[in-house]
Symmetry: C2
Subunit: 193 residues, 2 copies
């Protein structure tokens, strides 16, 4: 089976595009790699998203997103809060990485943030998503916030650094790195070629 | 006639891709807008290209460029010096903006930097390019470095800031901004659509 690894952050608007595109295709198996961009940005000396710190770039991104969403047939509403706290969603996603519900959870959580303008940092929003997929929300939220799982997410961040990841989404096909939703088509072509 | 404005810096590797793509097409009229990224980056507090300041991103870019050049059928050699001094080339290009030789000068200067690994900051290299197109290199180099022309390049930089340009290449189709070679196809579609 052809494989692609997708490193993404639920707070990242360009990750939203890629997660939805990958969740809707069946040709390539996806290794989902939820992680947090925050610590990566901190290493650059940034205490927030570059789309917040660099005002002109940030303003541009909100012009770019509706066009990109139209291109890929995806819904779009600019979140009233950006970037949203993605820690809880990432912890839940870690539990789902090898579960059949992973793609659905990722897609619904991204849509909550970028279509429905919901606070994905809240337990209530994540619980509603989990319940909507037919999962035991209470049990998963408890497991997500266990010490073991917190350690796993920190290890994921160290793995990201060891791979020299500097942004999201980032894809790997074997050793080859592709950065940004704009490279997803190339990465998929590499995976299937 | 359909029009696109192309803001670019001769030192910028992603500008190289777009300048060559635009120079080779005839469907859309190009308003060439040579400018310098340096002052834009300085306003961000950066004293060099982000591809130098952010090591992981910079390393990635040199993996990305050969793949991108292959995609567009363009030659590629990683410059032994990056970013190169693009001040002289920008000053000469300002003189050519509305001349029939502009596209050819831009393409040849970009190829000098990114195919032939030549120092486009040197008068000798720029003179050879100008002579190769059949132009009076000595006269153009003198005019390029006149006080009037220096003032014009500074005004171009102020125009870039007033348009909230934060990187290169940047395209405008009417009021709509498109950033990066990855958006050139979209910008051209907008110009012809």
């Amino acid at each position: 089976m052809k494989e692609i690894a997708c490193w993404f952050d639920f707070a990242s608007n360009y990750s939203y595009l890629s997660v939805l595109r990958l969740a809707r295709q069946k040709e390539v198996a996806v290794q989902w790699k939820p992680f947090l961009l925050g610590p990566i940005f901190k290493e650059q000396g940034w205490d927030n998203s570059p789309f917040v710190l660099q005002k002109d770039k940030g303003d541009y991104v909100w012009q770019d997103m509706p066009r990109e969403c139209a291109k890929y047939g995806l819904p779009w509403r600019q979140p009233s809060e950006f970037p949203r706290r993605s820690l809880l969603a990432a912890r839940v996603a870690l539990l789902g990485e090898h579960q059949p519900w992973m793609a659905e959870f990722c897609a619904r959580t991204m849509l909550a943030n970028f279509e429905h303008d919901e606070d994905i940092g809240s337990e209530a929003v994540i619980a509603t998503i989990l319940t909507g997929i037919g999962l035991d929300a209470a049990a998963l939220l408890t497991a997500a916030q266990s010490d073991d799982n917190k350690v796993r997410l920190r290890a994921r961040g160290e793995e990201a650094r060891s791979l020299h990841i500097f942004g999201a989404p980032t894809f790997f096909v074997g050793p080859d790195m592709y950065w940004g939703n704009d490279r997803l088509t190339d990465a998929l072509a590499r995976a299937t070629g």
